[in-house]
């Protein structure tokens, strides 16, 4: 089944790998944004089924981006999965309804499975 997800990550290489992995290996449709501000706007406009969000980003970080996304009625309940170099969910994850965490580095072969697992897809 084709899912539509939004990837927000400041690293272009990571965005490309994530997109290739989810599109070519899992057949999903992937939009990407390189910072929190673009990510927020794109989330509201595109209404993806889920958002993969990097935690450590300059300026608007993962937490601030998640808060901004949650502030819009269109994306109040959009599932968010974090992608992080940390191996544990940050403290704010529960409050902002984060569904899970994919630890970096990830295996592109199993990335879609990991995301599915967090979203019960």
């Amino acid at each position: 089944m084709t899912h539509r997800v939004l990837v927000i990550d400041d690293e272009p290489d990571i965005r490309e790998i994530t997109q290739l992995s989810l599109e070519r290996l899992a057949g999903w449709h992937v939009e990407t944004a390189g910072n929190g501000v673009d990510g927020e706007a794109m989330a509201v406009r595109e209404r993806p089924e889920a958002i993969l969000l990097d935690v450590m980003m300059p300026e608007l970080d993962g937490e601030a981006t998640a808060r901004a996304i949650r502030a819009h009625s269109e994306t109040r309940d959009t599932p968010i999965v974090l992608m992080s170099a940390a191996t544990q969910l940050p403290e704010w994850a529960a409050e902002l309804g984060v569904r899970g965490l994919v630890a970096k580095p990830f295996d592109p072969m199993t990335l879609a499975d990991a995301v599915r697992g967090h979203l019960n897809w």
Partner: protein, 411 residues
């Protein structure tokens, strides 16, 4: 009075002042360690005033002061500034008869000094900082031999106290420095770990996509090379993860959940995850786990079992058996992991749970590992209020034993 013998008096004085600053006693609170010396001097030499003075650039400051209600005087009026020009006791029997002091404000006005005897005090660095001195408002003949001896002994005592102060400060500074170095090291590991993950994600991701055929099917040789690159990248990723875990365990910053966990479940999860590796190594597991509840973090306890079993497999020959048992023993839950490998000599057992312990042992180096697995085991087990130990002898294999407090069992 002879002037200083130093060829460069100004440079010597600058050095002396630097030593005085390094002693860091100026403007510090009164201390009993010095007051007891001036009290003793007052009593032994039957003097109304006794002082420990430090001669600063523009003033003399009293570290200890008996019989005088002030804490410092200008250096220009200081008897001690004269006294510290040599190592000998300086005696002024009657200030009214000494042209150097007859007009001194401390002579002509309060405290009306007539008699002065001061023994210079050297800092641990050998510089004359000030004096231990006694003062009388009446003139005296001279200083008796007994009084000279007493003043000299008491001055030596004061110098000893200077050394104690300097040493205890050095110890404090060393401890602070150690703490800072330790903290800096942890920060470097943490930052490096995170900074390594981003490029590793790029490398591992690209290799994974190549291996998955996203760029088209790979020729056999290229496929083997990509597999090698993937395997080694995974090894590097494990090392980075292990380093971060060790750093967080050492810093006490690893979050440990407090849930009821069945240790038998923990073993099942770990064994299941390791099954493919075991198959590749032709190692057989013999698992006997009875349900025992402990308090803690299941994921972290799975990591403990994984690391111990992984370690056991590394030291097992093809087809060998690795035994894992879980049992209750009074208020403890006991996990044992046993291999039938080459075992370890006693000297190696002592350091086996230290970070990078494996780096020291040439023989085990061929078996790939970060050398951090057992350090992580100990860190996690201790964070669960448990203990880990090992029994081994060469040729007999090794048995690792983890003891954790049982949940809700009087512990």
């Amino acid at each position: 009075m002879t002037a200083t013998t130093s060829p460069q008096p100004e440079a010597a004085e600058a050095e002396r002042i630097a030593a005085l600053r390094a002693l860091a006693l100026l403007d510090t609170p009164r201390e009993e360690r010095f007051d007891r010396i001036t009290r003793t001097a007052q009593r032994l030499l039957d003097a109304p005033i006794a002082l420990i003075t430090l001669v600063d650039v523009e003033r003399q400051w009293f570290k200890s002061c008996q019989g005088l209600g002030i804490s410092e005087t200008p250096r220009s009026a200081s008897f001690c500034a004269h006294a510290i020009r040599s190592d000998d006791i300086m005696v002024v029997a009657d200030s009214h008869l000494d042209p150097r002091f007859v007009d001194n404000p401390l002579v002509t006005t309060s405290p009306y000094i007539r008699f002065y005897a001061g023994k210079p005090l050297r800092s641990p660095s050998g510089h004359r900082m000030g004096t231990l001195c006694v003062i009388d408002t009446e003139p005296r003949a001279d200083l008796s031999d007994a009084d000279r001896a007493a003043l000299t002994d008491l001055a030596a005592w004061a110098e000893l106290e200077f050394s104690v102060v300097a040493m205890s400060r050095a110890v404090t500074e060393r401890d602070e420095l150690r703490g800072r170095v330790e903290q800096l090291k942890d920060e470097i590991i943490s930052v490096t770990g995170h900074e390594l993950r981003t490029p590793l994600t790029g490398i591992r991701g690209s290799l994974g996509l190549l291996a998955a055929g996203v760029a088209g099917p790979l020729p056999d040789e290229a496929r083997r090379m990509v597999d090698t690159a993937v395997r080694n990248t995974d090894r590097l990723i494990r090392l980075v993860n292990d380093m971060l875990d060790v750093e967080r365990l050492a810093a006490g910053s690893m979050p440990i959940k407090d849930e009821t966990v069945d240790l038998a479940d923990v073993v099942d999860s770990a064994i299941e995850a390791l099954a493919p590796v075991a198959a590749e190594a032709s190692v057989t597991f013999d698992v006997r786990a009875e349900p025992v509840a402990v308090s803690g973090d299941k994921d972290r306890l799975v990591q403990v079992v994984s690391n111990l079993v992984d370690n056991a497999m590394k030291f097992s020959a093809q087809g060998a058996l690795v035994s894992v048992t879980v049992s209750a023993d009074g208020s403890s839950a006991v996990l044992k992991v046993r291999d039938r490998g080459c075992g370890m000599p006693p000297e190696q057992l002592a350091t086996i749970f230290d970070r990078f312990a494996q780096l020291d042992s040439g023989s085990a180096r061929s078996r790939a590992g970060s050398g951090l697995g057992l350090a992580i085991v100990r860190g996690i087990v201790e964070a669960h209020a448990g203990s880990v130990s090992v029994e081994s002898s060469p040729g007999e294999g090794s048995t690792f034993t983890v003891r954790l407090p049982r949940r809700g069992n009087g512990s």
